[in-house]
Amino acid sequence: MNALRLCRSTLLSAVLLGLAAPALAARDLATLMHDLAQHKGGRVRFVEKKYIALLDKPLVSSGEMTYTAPDRLEKRTLQPKPEVLVLDRDTLTLERGKQKFVLRLADQPEAQVFVDSIRGTLAGNRALLERSYALHLSGTRERWSLSLLPSDQRIAALVSRITVGGTRHQVDSIEYLQADGDRAVMTITPIEAQ
């Protein structure tokens, strides 16, 4: 019984790969982080495309996300199957159909690092991000792109790069490049501005 609970935990640590969130524009890393830190929350629409070598065409899912600073994120997938993922402080909950999975982040150091990448970005916590990732900001204020390169081997074995892109005040895409070459691209449109 507990063995399966562990399988489930492993599944859930993978869950975090799909997480992303809105952010504000920035001129340089420090300013970007400062601007992100001012962000208190908001609601966005997302479309996520997963390019998987095994499959003939990309998988598309879409829905809404809500971020409430500093540590609550709700990702509500509507298509193709309804699913709700909630990250609240140290608990990650995934509801899909009748099934509900709960993961405590303290159980899974890898998951913790993923969550840090999302939390760090959303909250503009540069120190938290730099603990596990090397940060690279490129582009202009109109069109910026922030890359997170995992420094932790366990993470690097799963994800080789996370790229957050935005225009001025707005994050509009997040791309996860997985270690096996598959990738997931999420595009984001705000529903309400702060």
Partner: protein, 793 residues
């Protein structure tokens, strides 16, 4: 003289026979002697669980000291040794490697284990549906691991296995690769001892090996302050056995020493001491032999009552020495006068005591019944020895130191105490009022009060249990059958009927051994549901027509299904050493009559997050629907409380019956309501005072307190009878000696029982705190009331 020789010969023969019986007796310290003898099936299950079930084998381990990485390293090293050692059927500490094996086992056997495997699922439409669902799941954040498994498991059987589990996350957090407490200050492990709870020696050996292994590992790792904390039933059972053994030894020695010193001080003669202790020795031999013959085994606690017997049986020799001496000094040259004057009183005292103890004989607790038989046999033997053998053994010129002086001083004291006679009814009323005011909190409501486990050990257990999320197995459905297969099949049928209850919210969920070990019939049915390789290869392209996945990517799936069709069926042996073995072992138990499959039910949660009780009618209905009406639904907590309540009621009833018998006997012997009242008043007042004292001290009474009170009445009645006799017979000359013998007897009683009050074993302590004060109070109160009559006379 012929009669004397005959008496001694009979005594020696009886003694020899008793010693032979004792030498061949079986001894036990198993606390289950204080569990019921003729239980209902539910109670039997509880008893079995306590004695040998999962609970009796679950070990909780904590590691403290050093820093977190050091603790985690010690946890891993200790777990490795424990797994290698063979004393444990499972060891869990959150190591990734250990779970990898579980995962591999589940994955390799997924087609035998998954309840979703049916012929329909492997037809074209079913395959299309199942594979489509799996691909949808890839879009979910949960997809990462599934992606890797998709070529092998496109129908998502592993997800089915995962989905069959409930969502509660009970595993402790991991720190540096091993489970840790929430505050991170303790590494924690959970293990299952291989030896049954009934095999305490093996459990003790396993525990000792953990301790030595840990000490060696800690020294090796250089963690000087590292310590290992062990808890769980194996620890409790072995440590309470040790405690009982050492306490019984220590207290018996202490009590005996105290009595010996007192007697030496008074008698100033080793001959007198030896003769005085002989009735006790005979009583102990007779008691143990009787219990061994009557019950087959002798409980350690019963023997522990040797000390308590000293308290009463030594009184007889004291009465004999002190009072026969007076008789002789008074001019009667032989002991015959003692026989006439004092023996009837002693005989009445012995009879009342026997009435008290006889009540215990009928108790449903084998432990209490043993105590009853032990005490009766012991007292009869001691009294008979004092009456028939002791006078023959005493040398012609045998004398003890004259204690008339002490007696006279005591008599003066008693006379002065008479001024306080008004205090007796006042005390009785005050005590009765106190008892009445505390009537709701007098009794300890659970079996816990009898548990010999110290409070700090219970606290450690609770904290480890909470940290480990260890199951408390409160609600169980039990399916019994003649064979393992039959019990598994029954569990499967019950599981099918329990599922609707989960959906209706009657129960939050349930576990079953068949989750990891389906019956052979079910496993075979699943194998037969899988299509042949050619057939599956033909169906796949059709099933995948609408899906973004090509059949040539699924060759691993075809291979795995082909293998699953012919793979050997799962047996418990297949799981050996994995966590799954723990689950199966815990839920599938061999019993005396076949096998029991346990299905623990989880209680639903209320809106406020608290657990609600499970509706037994709904569960029983499901059992009937499953064609298993004889399967049991047990609420272990409720059952143990009910069990205790039954026995408490029984003990109260038996104690009252014992008391009534004593009253009746006294009434017949004394033939005077006034005298009866004079004998009973101090006894009843003493009992009330003791109960009131316990209530005021906040000590909750258990069955054993009740037994203690009965003992106090039995012992105290002797004093009251002597006072009554010396008072009513106008036997005033006898008073100082009688008083002295009573005081001496009372002191020995106080020592014998008093030491028990300091025991850590609640059973012994309960007797100590009731009989010690009870006997003293009975003597004091009887003396006060006697003094009153004396002045009037």
């Amino acid at each position: 003289m012929n009669a004397a020789r005959r008496a001694i010969a009979v005594w020696l023969l009886a003694l020899a026979a008793g010693l032979v019986v004792i030498a061949r007796a079986d001894y036990t310290a198993d606390m289950s002697a204080f569990l019921p003898k003729n239980p209902s099936p539910q109670q039997q299950l509880l008893v079995d669980q306590l004695k040998a079930g999962v609970l009796s084998r679950m070990l909780l381990i904590g590691i403290e000291g050093g820093d977190a990485p050091a603790r985690a390293a010690l946890s891993r090293a200790l777990a490795e040794r424990m797994r290698a050692g063979g004393d444990f059927s499972a060891v869990r500490n959150g190591e990734a490697g250990a779970h990898a094996r579980d995962r591999e086992l589940l994955f390799a056997n997924r087609y035998l284990l998954s309840p979703a495997v049916t012929p329909e699922r492997f037809a074209v439409a079913g395959l299309a549906q199942a594979i489509g669902d799996s691909i949808d799941l890839l879009a979910s954040p949960a997809g990462l691991m599934l992606k890797r498994l998709l070529p092998q498991d496109p129908t998502g059987e592993l997800m089915e296995l995962v989905g069959a589990l409930d969502g509660g996350s009970g595993s402790p957090p991991s720190l540096h690769g091993a489970w840790a407490s929430r505050d991170g200050q303790r590494a924690i492990l959970m293990a299952q001892v291989r030896a049954s709870g009934a095999d305490l020696d093996a459990q003790e050996a396993a525990l000792a090996r953990i301790r030595t292994d840990f000490a060696a590992l800690a020294a090796q790792a250089g963690v000087a302050d590292a310590r290992v904390l062990l808890s769980g039933s194996p620890v409790f059972a072995t440590s309470s056995r040790d405690t009982i053994r050492s306490e019984v030894t220590r207290l018996s020695i202490l009590g005996t020493l105290g009595v010996v010193c007192l007697l030496l001080l008074v008698y100033r003669s080793f001959t007198a001491l030896a003769l005085g202790l002989l009735p006790v020795a005979c009583g102990v031999v007779a008691g143990i032999a009787a219990v061994s013959l009557g019950f087959g085994t002798v409980h350690g606690i019963t023997i522990g009552f040797g000390t308590t017997l000293i308290g009463e049986a030594i009184d007889y020799s004291i009465y004999y020495f002190v009072q026969s001496q007076r008789a002789r000094d008074g001019g009667d040259s032989d002991a015959g006068s003692w026989m006439q004057r004092f023996w009837p009183t002693i005989r009445l005292g012995v009879t009342t005591s026997i009435c008290g103890f006889a009540a215990l004989l009928f108790s449903g607790f084998p432990g209490l019944a043993q105590l009853g038989l032990y005490s009766i046999a012991g007292l009869v033997a001691a009294a008979a020895f004092t009456r028939f053998v002791l006078p023959q053994l005493c040398p012609e010129d045998f004398r003890i130191r004259d204690i008339t002086g002490i007696g006279e001083r005591l008599a003066g004291g008693v006379a002065r105490l008479a001024a306080l006679r008004w205090i007796v009814p006042v005390l009785a009323l005050a005590a009765a009022a106190t008892v009445f005011a505390h009537r709701d909190t007098l009794w300890n409501p659970g079996l816990g009060g009898l548990s010999p486990i110290p409070a700090d050990a219970q606290q450690l257990d609770q904290s480890l249990r909470a940290e480990l999320g260890a199951p408390d197995l409160r609600y169980l459905v039990v399916a019994n059958a003649g064979s393992r297969e039959a019990s598994l099949a029954a569990a499967e049928r019950i599981g099918r009927e329990l599922q609707p209850l989960v959906e209706r919210g009657v129960i939050a969920g349930f576990d079953s051994p068949t989750r990891f070990l389906p019956s052979a019939a079910t496993q075979r049915a699943r194998q037969q549901a899988l299509p042949a390789p050619d057939e599956l290869a033909r169906r796949l392209p059709a099933a995948l027509r609408e899906l973004p996945l090509r059949a040539d990517k699924l060759q691993p799936f075809l291979d795995d299904v082909a293998r699953a069709r012919t793979q050997p069926l799962l047996t418990p042996e297949a799981f050996a050493g994995s966590t799954l073995a723990l689950a199966v072992d815990a839920l599938l138990l061999p019993g005396s009559a076949g096998w029991s499959a346990l299905l623990p039910l989880r209680a639903p949660q209320g809106a406020d997050g608290r657990l609600l009780p499970i509706d037994p009618a709904a569960v029983r209905q499901a059992l009937a629907a499953a064609g298993q009406p004889e399967a049991l639904f047990v609420d272990l907590l409720g059952e143990s409380n009910r069990l205790y309540a039954t026995y408490l009621d029984e003990a109260i009833l038996l104690s009252l019956a014992g008391f009534a018998a004593i009253v009746l006997l006294l009434a017949l012997a004394l033939r005077s309501p006034a005298r009866l009242a004079r004998v009973l008043l101090p006894l009843v007042t003493a009992v009330l005072l003791v109960v009131a004292g316990l209530a005021l001290a906040g000590e909750k009474m258990t069955l054993l307190h009740l037994v203690g009170l009965l003992l106090a009445v039995a012992v105290g009645s002797n004093y009251a009878l002597f006072f009554d006799r010396s008072g009513s017979a106008g036997d005033r000359a006898g008073t100082p000696q009688t008083l002295a013998s009573l005081a001496l007897a009372n002191c020995t009683t106080m020592i014998g029982f008093g030491v028990l009050a300091f025991s850590q074993v609640p059973v012994l302590r309960a007797i100590g705190v009731t009989v010690g004060p009870g006997a003293v109070l009975a003597l004091l109160l009887a003396a006060i009331l006697a003094g009153q009559r004396e002045r009037r006379a």
